[in-house]
Symmetry: C2
Subunit: 352 residues, 2 copies
DNA sequence: GTGAAAGCGCTAACAG
DNA sequence: CTGTTAGCGCTTTCAC
């Protein structure tokens, strides 16, 4: 109502009229050169007279010209963007992976676009499908998609998958079998004789690896029982309290840190002391594990390295490197001992 | 070396040759129709003979055709994607905001592209600049950019900013003044007479709001002192222990939950009990605040609603709605009382 | 209901 | 070093 058509603040400052932005042609006209020259001035400055280039850039700046990366990508395929797809961005598990990926991308002047699958493979596919044309490469971190869906993606853009081993696609995994052994040895060393594995989603490739690793590592003499599965979250861990208690194990290895933390909370709420009554170990070493009480003992994955190596590898693929057809790249893990593990209730132990 | 031009495994299965994907023309040829018909079959199915459309879609599927959203975006401007820019995606603070944004986007069949600024305004601008052509709208959550930089973005695409009030750009903030009052009243009610504010980054718009709110709320009689600034992280909070102790306040209100948690940890490490010796309150109510010991009392922001409303508003802008020029949209906050606050040391109090 | 042709903003030959 | 000309894959008038 208060606005007249020519109100002064309508022309420049506002967010109102998203005007068509200046194109390369507008700049060309203003500078009195051909469009291709303007293009060159921006994409390969070496190939154009220094002064001309300067003038062009000045004029472009005055006009408020910004190169349209999308339009550039159509003929060239270059967008300087990579997609990092996570099964759930809000999962702290991804924090360091993202950092590593960003660092590696920055080294080659690429930007990372984060795509969230929200733990739903349908959403995941849809979001990826839309973003694919905008990126030069893709890293799939703990994807929920089927192998065939992954291959469809991989056929469209250089792709590497994290935490999953899929034939014919560049894969990076952590050494879960060794991690399982570390956990078992630690517990056995403490004097535990029977430990429970609190399983995560059955569709999780990693879950299978951890369970198998645990059984094999326990073959030595430990008794190992399986609980769950539960959702891979704090809530999931909490809901397993009864089952764990019923099992009577003196220690539990959880699918991941979230589950371990949820379990600890549930246990404590039920009046069970950790680690005095029950020891618990997680997987991954997300940052929260160092924040909770007691600090969570966990099998640490080189999260940052995972992210870094993954994008370094897609970058290589983009630059024409061959893809390995055989084994996945396996990263080492280590045990971080904090305060959620202790000798079983029977055996006395001093405490500071 | 081992590859002959017609080696069988080169054609179909591998990730090797990223072949040029089938275009609309390939489909058109195979279906014996014009390209424009294929286009219509996908973008406005109503406008084409049902059978023809079916046939086209079948053939397209067989060929493995996928519409190239980028190419479509060039003439139409439609990408079905929105950018959500966060100052640091790995910050748990954004978890619920992201969820809310995704939910709102899904309602209109849009996808969210997450862009991480890594707490660096240069990186932020570069990443946004690249992504802008791929998205129809942008929400800036706690951006680190200058007002003018924000306006430059807002001129290119419908934009709404979160947690910042900037003239001429659609803004959404939480009621920090009221939050501050809630914190102060709670502490005063407990019997505290002097409280410290542990400040976050000075460049943070929100920090200013919270500090001012605290001072005004405290005018009633509480003594309020300022500490910091510290980085808005757990580590930042931890490094303030000495300063806080020196100040001698019986309660501290921290810039945000991370800082509060870091402070609590540092305090505990120094042998100071929370809340028995010192009470602490945070802001935001991130999920970790319910996980730490003791649970953190905090001024909760409607995080999910923030995200939801923000994208609903960009969607409106995209659909041509006018932009408000006056006040930012303000969302209510509330106090979540957990166990990090208690009466000051002097006054006895029972504990279960 | 369908085809032909032009064009989105940019880059990439190819001449000069 | 610079201009001219196609053309990336899709949509969109405009005819038929």
């Amino acid at each position: 109502m208060a606005e007249t058509p020519d109100s002064p603040d309508d022309g420049e400052g506002g967010t109102r009229g998203r005007i068509r932005p200046p194109t390369i042609y507008d700049v060309a006209r203003a500078a009195g050169v051909a469009a291709s020259t303007v293009s060159r001035a921006f994409s390969r400055p070496g190939r154009v007279n220094a002064e001309t280039a300067d003038r062009i850039r000045t004029i472009a700046a005055e006009l408020g010209y910004r190169t349209n990366y999308l339009a550039r990508a159509l003929p060239t395929g270059r967008t300087s963007m990579l997609a990092l797809v996570t099964s759930d961005v809000t999962n702290p598990f991804y924090a360091e992976i993202i950092r590593g990926a960003e660092a590696a991308a920055a080294e080659e002047d690429y930007s990372i676009l984060l795509i969230d699958a929200q733990e739903d493979d349908r959403i995941e596919r849809r979001n990826i499908e839309r973003a694919v044309p905008s990126v030069e490469g893709i890293v799939l971190a703990s994807t929920r998609m089927s192998d065939s869906a992954i291959r469809v993606i991989a056929k469209q853009r250089p792709t590497v998958v994290l935490n999953r081993d899929i034939a014919d696609v560049s894969s990076i995994v952590t050494d879960n079998p060794h991690g399982a052994r570390l956990a078992v040895d630690h517990l056995a060393g403490l004097g535990h004789r029977t430990v429970a594995y609190l399983a995560g989603p059955e569709s999780s490739w990693v879950d299978g690896m951890r369970w198998r690793g645990l059984r094999e590592a326990a073959a030595t003499g430990l008794r190992i029982q399986r609980s769950g599965p539960v959702p891979p979250t704090v809530a999931g861990g909490a809901q397993a309290v009864e089952e764990i208690l019923r099992g009577g194990a003196g220690a539990v290895v959880a699918y991941n840190d979230q589950v371990a933390i949820g379990l600890m909370r549930g246990l404590q709420a039920a009046g069970v002391r950790v680690p005095d009554d029950i020891s618990v170990i997680g997987f991954d070493d997300i940052f929260v594990s160092d924040l909770v009480q007691p600090g969570l003992t966990t099998v640490a994955a080189p999260l940052r390295a995972e992210g870094h190596i993954a994008v370094r590898d897609v970058l290589r693929l983009i630059n024409g490197a061959a893809v390995r057809g055989d084994q996945p790249k396996t990263l080492p893990v280590k045990l971080i001992t904090r305060h959620s593990t202790a000798p079983p209730r029977g055996s006395r132990r001093k405490k500071g």
